[in-house]
Subunit: 320 residues, 4 copies
Amino acid sequence: MHTFTGVVPPVVTPLHADGSFDKASFTRLLDRLIDAGVDGLFILGSSGEVAFSDDERRGEIIAAAVDHVAGKVPVMVGCIDMETKRVIAHAKQAKELGADAIVATAPFYALGGLREIERHFRQIHAACDLPLFAYDIPVCVHTKLPGALLLQLGKDGVLAGVKDSSGDDVSFRFLAQENTAAGKPLVLLTGHEVVVDGAYLSGADGVVPGLGNIDPESYVKQFKAYQAGDWDEVRRLQDHLTELMRIVLVTTGAVGFGAGVGAFKTALALLGVFESNRMPEPVPTLVDDNVQAIADQLARCGFQPTRTAAEVSCGEYAGE
Amino acid sequence: MHTFTGVVPPVVTPLHADGSFDKASFTRLLDRLIDAGVDGLFILGSSGEVAFSDDERRGEIIAAAVDHVAGKVPVMVGCIDMETKRVIAHAKQAKELGADAIVATAPFYALGGLREIERHFRQIHAACDLPLFAYDIPVCVHTKLPGALLLQLGKDGVLAGVKDSSGDDVSFRFLAQENTAAGKPLVLLTGHEVVVDGAYLSGADGVVPGLGNIDPESYVKQFKAYQAGDWDEVRRLQDHLTELMRIVLVTTGAVGFGAGVGAFKTALALLGVFESNRMPEPVPTLVDDNVQAIADQLARCGFQPTRTAAEVSCGEYAGE
Amino acid sequence: MHTFTGVVPPVVTPLHADGSFDKASFTRLLDRLIDAGVDGLFILGSSGEVAFSDDERRGEIIAAAVDHVAGKVPVMVGCIDMETKRVIAHAKQAKELGADAIVATAPFYALGGLREIERHFRQIHAACDLPLFAYDIPVCVHTKLPGALLLQLGKDGVLAGVKDSSGDDVSFRFLAQENTAAGKPLVLLTGHEVVVDGAYLSGADGVVPGLGNIDPESYVKQFKAYQAGDWDEVRRLQDHLTELMRIVLVTTGAVGFGAGVGAFKTALALLGVFESNRMPEPVPTLVDDNVQAIADQLARCGFQPTRTAAEVSCGEYAGE
Amino acid sequence: MHTFTGVVPPVVTPLHADGSFDKASFTRLLDRLIDAGVDGLFILGSSGEVAFSDDERRGEIIAAAVDHVAGKVPVMVGCIDMETKRVIAHAKQAKELGADAIVATAPFYALGGLREIERHFRQIHAACDLPLFAYDIPVCVHTKLPGALLLQLGKDGVLAGVKDSSGDDVSFRFLAQENTAAGKPLVLLTGHEVVVDGAYLSGADGVVPGLGNIDPESYVKQFKAYQAGDWDEVRRLQDHLTELMRIVLVTTGAVGFGAGVGAFKTALALLGVFESNRMPEPVPTLVDDNVQAIADQLARCGFQPTRTAAEVSCGEYAGE
């Protein structure tokens, strides 16, 4: 019986230079995370390039994770797609392949309202009996999940928890307080990276930090310090992680996913965990000065790259 | 050699009451549109519930359309998905099944920028040699395609045309003027329903009106009047169609896709073209008073329903 | 008894190089507009830099306009401010100085809802008995005025009309149709510049085009052609005006108000109507290559500048 | 020499039932705040209804505050208006009346860019030598002030600090870290109410909480606990304040300013500090059940109203 609390990194998906799934790099990353003491793994999240992955690719990733993790920690699987029927298909695939929980956003693309969102989650739950987490990520799906609806779905046993990537810390605080008053029907995970300490003050049960791919130890230590009530240590670790998070800010030209996940992949390539920092199309892969800038920032934060920027740059833009 | 100009309705997809694809109703609608003289058909558009359709469903719909239409008019197929790789897979499926052109939006879900959008369309074109139309629909994908990029991709032979559902009539006018000055590399289709006359003044080459599912004759007449320069008739027909479009406004409680496509399906069910007005999950199906309101509006515009509201209402909400 | 229909340019406000109000240039522009046959003047609109003008400046502008126009055409005055009380003060000032009508937006800055908007317009009307126009400009005030509310306020005698700068041509068409059905309680003016022909098809009673400062004759001819039902001429003039509107697109570095009104002021300075193209702080004034680009575009559209770019560039950026 | 750190409530402005400024209630509130130990006062902020106040009203409020406070704590004055010239006029008024610092937002209404924002703050500073705080409140002005610009303006001596009401806690953390690295040119105040504890972890120098009008003691205690490093106490007080903040959520029908500041005014009226909970037009004043709901929530949080809901309800809606 898993609690799905603590540090649950959204695992970044490595690709070979040709764009195919790089299973060896993936399992190296899984080992690195598990060795660091993470409490769970979230695969096929937004950072795990779920949006770029077709059904076959999703199957490869889930199977690789479930097989390799072998029950050491729970595996949560992002079942992200536009509308209910497609999400349910992903949920069934995830269950069949051994997922421990599924994670779904509000429907997107077609315009809808609260009634559609509620029906969506209820139907996913009815179709797949794995613990279901609502993924609140308005920057991608353009809907903020209202706290009152989340709590009701928690009380009704539809939702097991929420992964909050809304950036709306006020709503999160209100929800956490209401959830506690209601006997904690929901597990509340924050998707923050640089204000996780604040989310812990608000009562988060865990964290799903993209940056946890790079520095899982610090997030694990931070969660332990939080459990121990050592707020100064929680804060000190956060300050370090915030400095490290600047790898997503030091590049030029890249935006959005290409700047964020691009920096994570590049850092993992520089550190020798990933073979390549290849991005899924149509996102440009970081090269040259941008790779160097990330290497420099890693070094400033105490991470010594084992490969040079030149070794990592795959030269994709040479011909552009 | 198709021109993809004129009236090209985005065909609404009928479902049986159990949610499965209703091929008989679909071919009835196709016949109705072809008999009315439309110049092409756009299947699996936003109104064609592409977002709700998995690969198998998409295959059923494309095959049914291509087989039934049998070359009488060109069939354009929406290849809508989150990112490039998935869109390309849909494009290949569409080509294999006999589509005459494909239609793709900007990538969505993951955040990106102009560079990602340009690579996206270039790669789709490189992977599938059918004429490619850019679908500009910011309300769904949250990006407005810039005219300068569209025109460049047209000049480069990447895009054959644009389906403009942006509602940004100023940008459309500027684009139409630039496109004409550049020798018309792009076919420009408007997605408007109630200001199509204005789009024609701006130089649109055709129209893709959801309301064309209900009253294709009027759009066909309007396009002919436009070709003949009879602007008073163009306007008169537009006023009639605007009044008819109020079927999407007369309901209560429904929003977005549920109000819009919901009204189209309900009208087609009332008119005996569709067996059912069933919506795809998680969208509620219109029932009772809402169906009656649509029946009344149809009657006000000269369309006599052949079924009653009670016959159409599937009673889905009875138990809620 | 004014109808407030036809061509009503939003008069741009000239400044001396030191930022003070340039009354001589202002009256030159007023004469130019009246000589061209415009049907009214809208001063202190968004283009008339109302947002930059304090009470004293507003008073100067209104007095100059009312005195100089001397009843030849009606003068509408923008009473734009954040909330009701301040708007009412502007309205009283406008009335005292001889305005023929007032124009007000929804309240802005403080967040509110429909109830606030309705009370706002009702109270302005109760406090000032001049004809009141609602100014629908969501790009500035971040609220779209709903057609149903506008029509109700028209029927209740609160609003005399609407100046629609929403860019939402679908809502405008629906409103125009409803307004006609209700016996035309509202005068409907479009704020469009490049799709005015479409707005006329939709039933606009007039136009308030910023570009009318530069080429009032063409808008006057276009309105007459519209009245005469000569749609080909309406469209031909629109195509010319659309090409001329590119003066707001040919500059680099400037954005928003600085690009739009900046281009209008620069064109008027190049044409010898304005002494200076000085912008109100904090908006940078266009200089050098940007002025030249506007001069070139004017020439392409048949307007021969009487001053060179060097003469117009006030060199403000020399020291930056 | 003031530091402008610590607890600086944005003082709510009381009105008599007729809408005029209620100076007696205002000074009662000032005394209540000073007696509670606040470190400063921010008058004419968004909560202080600056948007609703004309120049004369602003003068009344500033004069009343400066006279009554008599130097016990610094008085910061919101100089909020659409564009630079108007802001400068407010700044000069504030200085003349004895303000200790001024607070200004980005320009709003007219569309602009970063260049306009930078010039705006530089010119305000050049025109008024009081310490200048940038007020980052995108929900009202629809622009997020970028951290890099704020820091540069701090280093250049243009800005003394930032009042952050952006709700973007990630940007705030990055800014706080960069500001510290740069030697703290900026004083960083958070506008949060329910996640102030998180802002303190991020390094905020103080807080400007609207809810501080109701419970200043708790915010003062919380700041002291923060200074002492007693995070458990910081958090405990935050949980109490979050519960109290629900007064803005318990009403029905009210939105935005009417729900938020409406609740604060109503609470102060129930507690006998304000004579009336009258809102400025066009915002409806809370009455009846809504007042009762706020009274109940106050009681749940340990505040015993001294007046009944019936006594507070001014019956404004009776005739509506």
